[in-house]
């Protein structure tokens, strides 16, 4: 709307208001206006209160103002993961822990075990007999008969299942919407000068930061110009050399990841790691590997020459993900194969191992913040001036968060109160990272691409992280026999048998026959899943064809715009020719209709 239009409308509204006011000056209208004004003020105050209650709003605006949207995306991601954990804590505590605490308020600790300080770090000892872990829950149906029964087995199973399903749905939804908004719409061309210009961050408020941004933008524009020129110029030998270097570095990094995984496996299966202090060795080694090996990977940057700096960031991300997930994969394999067969209350053992991993990961993130940011700042400013003030490495920090969340997701089944630790950890981490950022780091040099990186991070959070955790929990529930001395599923063949028993119970009641029918013919039948998969594949194929037809239509319409604007009517015959090659017939008809419209309009 132009400003004259706005002024005109505003004038009209004001005239109308003053006209209305002059007409209704009696007492009743006064009252009603006062009341409505009071309501509006109340509503405004409530929105204001809601916004001040919104977690960390002021801090995030401050960070975004000083460091830009790229760094802000890390803090938004942290807050989002915190919400997952708060929800998980509420669900677990409400449905599993509170009933257990109501019926068994004091945990039955065997004699001789008391609370020493070391439990905070190791999670074993006193904690292993409390409701912290799987083993602390009973398998009985609580309460007296009649309506106030509470079946602990079903509650445990369904709480974990419902949380996982809701998490999965939330992740898929945010991944898909992020993908649609930020990835598909964005052009994936090289350089993208407009992208750079339009990413000028108006929200930056610091004058020095603005000057730095101008500098960085100039450097990036120059680089994008030189990139376009450079790609064409490399001779064949150079390119072969580059590919050889790429192959070498990728083999080396994958080899390092697998080597670390193997060493973790041998460490965990060797020796008697059940003494309390010695149990800390494995998480220490895992966290040390996660801290040190990515530094090696970043050394590869000096040898490789990616044509696109974005590809370099992707390469680093993929390598780190392979490393972390292979270590977690090896640990899960060890737990499911060896621990499940060896120990009597093995779920609690696994829960304790996860607790130790979470705590050690937290300590190492704090250490990493100290060495990565504080010491780099000191070295960069005082000792080696050429290094300069460090940048906040968003990718590495987000991958650390994803790793931490994977641990929490795996631990949901084995340790229902692990989300509490995770919530405390993320809370402290937020303030720690914010302080470290403001004291030690400078705004990032490369602008833009924050939205695409966020899509990739959500995708990594979904695919290796959540799907891996879900498959591990699903495998445990489906096939592994639960320990027979502790936990809510003791005595059963598999955890899933609890559902089977419940269905058998329901079968005896006539009113619930439909549930039993659904269970037998939908959930447990393979034909159903096969048919669903087939239908989904057919739909995917149809939608893909439609998308391709639309892309072709876009190209043809672009051509038409150029032709019409340059006044070439002969372009129409070209279009008709091209439309013969179009796959779907309706597009052909639409194009013809458009052409006829243009000729006769």
């Amino acid at each position: 709307m132009s400003f004259d239009d706005k002024k005109h409308i505003r004038g009209q509204v004001l005239a109308l208001k003053s006209f209305k006011k002059s007409r209704q000056l009696n007492c009743f209208s006064d009252c009603s206006t006062t009341v409505s004004l009071a309501f509006r003020r109340c509503g405004a105050n409530m929105t204001l209160a809601k916004q001040t209650l919104e977690l960390w709003r002021g801090t995030m605006k401050e960070v975004g103002g000083k460091f830009g949207t790229g760094v802000l995306s890390y803090f938004k991601f942290l807050k989002w993961l915190l919400m997952f954990n708060i929800f998980s804590f509420l669900v677990n505590f409400g449905f599993i822990t509170i009933p257990q605490l109501i019926y068994h308020p004091t945990p039955d600790i065997p004699a001789g075990v008391s609370f020493k300080g070391l439990e905070i770090l190791t999670g074993a000892g006193y904690f292993s007999h409390t409701v912290m872990y799987y083993g602390g829950y009973s398998n009985k149906t609580q309460g007296t008969g009649g309506r106030s029964e509470y079946n602990m087995q079903l509650a445990y199973f369904f709480t974990v299942a419902a949380y996982m399903v809701l998490c999965g749905a939330a992740l898929i939804y945010s991944m898909a919407s992020s993908f649609r908004k930020k990835y598909v719409l964005a052009d994936s061309g090289l350089g993208g000068a407009w992208q750079l210009l339009c990413s000028w961050d108006f929200s930056v408020t610091n004058e020095k930061a603005v000057r730095q941004r101008k500098n960085n933008l100039r450097i990036q524009l120059k680089e994008s110009l030189s990139e376009k020129v450079q790609v064409a110029l490399l001779p064949l030998t150079e390119r072969l050399k580059h590919y050889g270097v790429f192959l070498g570095t990728w083999l080396l990094s994958t080899g390092m990841a697998l080597g670390c995984g193997a060493s973790v496996y041998f460490l965990s299966s060797s020796g008697s790691l059940l003494e309390e202090a010695a149990t800390l060795l494995l998480p220490f080694v895992v966290s040390l590997i996660n801290l040190v090996v990515p530094l090696f990977y970043s050394l590869f940057k000096k040898i490789e020459h990616y044509s696109n700096p974005r590809m370099q960031v992707y390469a680093i991300i993929v390598r780190n993900v392979i490393l972390k997930m292979s270590i977690l994969g090896i640990l899960c394999y060890y737990w499911m194969k060896d621990v499940a067969n060896t120990f009597s209350c093995w779920e609690s053992i696994v829960g304790q191992a996860l607790y130790r991993l979470v705590i050690m990961d937290f300590l190492f993130i704090m250490l990493g913040s100290f060495f990565g940011e504080f010491l780099s700042n000191v070295i960069g400013t005082k000792c080696i001036q050429s290094l300069g003030v460090p940048e906040f490495d968003v990718a590495r920090n987000v991958l650390d968060l994803i790793y931490a969340q994977t641990l929490a997701w795996i631990g949901i089944y084995f340790s229902p109160l692990l989300p509490v630790i995770q919530i405390i950890k993320f809370f402290i981490l937020f303030y720690l990272k914010k302080v470290s950022l403001t004291q030690n780091c400078q705004p990032p040099r490369r602008a833009g691409r924050a939205a695409q990186m966020q899509t990739i991070f959500i995708a990594i959070l979904f695919f290796p992280s959540f799907v891996g955790a879900l498959s591990m929990v699903a495998y445990t529930v489906w096939t592994l026999p639960p320990s027979d001395k502790c936990g809510p599923f003791r005595g059963l063949n598999t955890t899933f048998s609890a559902i089977q028993i419940w269905m058998d119970d329901l079968n005896r009641v006539d009113a619930f026959q439909w549930t039993v029918w659904i269970y037998q013919h939908v959930i447990r039948s393979e034909i159903f899943y096969f048919l669903i998969s087939l239908i989904i594949l057919v739909f995917i194929y149809i939608f893909r064809q439609i998308t391709q037809g639309r892309q072709l239509l876009i190209t043809l319409l672009r051509q038409q715009i150029v032709n019409v604007s340059s006044g070439e009517l002969s372009g129409l015959t070209c279009l008709v020719h091209q439309s013969c090659c179009v796959r779907s017939g309706c597009v052909y008809v639409m194009m013809l209709l458009k052409c006829w419209n243009n000729i006769f309009s």
């Binding site: 964005a186 339009c198 715009i561």
Partner: protein
């Protein structure tokens, strides 16, 4: 714009009015441009100013208009519309080579040694026009601008001023 923003906006507006100008209702252009992110972008003030003297001064209502266009609840169309008007330095309704050159200089640096060389500038402008000029007339009009903006996912989150 959210409900509490007018209070903060008024506070900021009063900060921009110096003590001597207390009886004035509009802030001169130089004071508005003292905000760091708007420095050098005089066209921002001209776009939002409704003063008859065409000097770019902003009344409080104009200031609110500016803030609401830059707020996070403004839609993509509003933001791209205002962005187009801001980038259109010569106010002729299209972004031609001169506008683009001024825009790049504005965003990269003011002094001689921080500017791009003329060769680079030419290359950059031809890249920009190649990307966004659909009807190949050598200028970027409003619809082409909005089209290229809609493909840039960072635009909405960057085109924001927070108080």
């Amino acid at each position: 714009m959210n409900n509490q923003h007018p209070y903060r906006a008024h506070k900021r507006f009063c900060e921009l009015l110096s003590k001597e100008d207390r009886n004035l209702t509009s802030v001169p252009m130089e004071k508005v441009l003292s905000l760091p992110t708007l420095s050098g972008k005089g066209s921002v003030c001209h776009v939002f100013s409704t003063s008859d003297m065409k000097d770019g001064s902003l009344t409080f209502e104009d200031f609110l208009d500016l803030l609401s266009a830059f707020s996070d609840s403004a839609t993509l169309e509003i933001k791209s519309h205002y962005a187009f008007r801001i980038f259109d330095f010569d106010d002729d309704g299209t972004l031609d080579g001169g506008d683009l050159e001024k825009l790049v200089n504005c965003l990269t640096g003011e002094t001689e040694d921080t500017r791009l060389t003329p060769e680079e500038m030419r290359q950059l402008i031809s890249n920009i026009l190649e990307e966004s000029d659909i009807d190949k007339d050598g200028t970027v009009n409003l619809s082409e601008f909005q089209h290229v903006i809609s493909r840039s996912p960072d635009f909405v989150s960057s085109f924001e001023i927070v108080l």
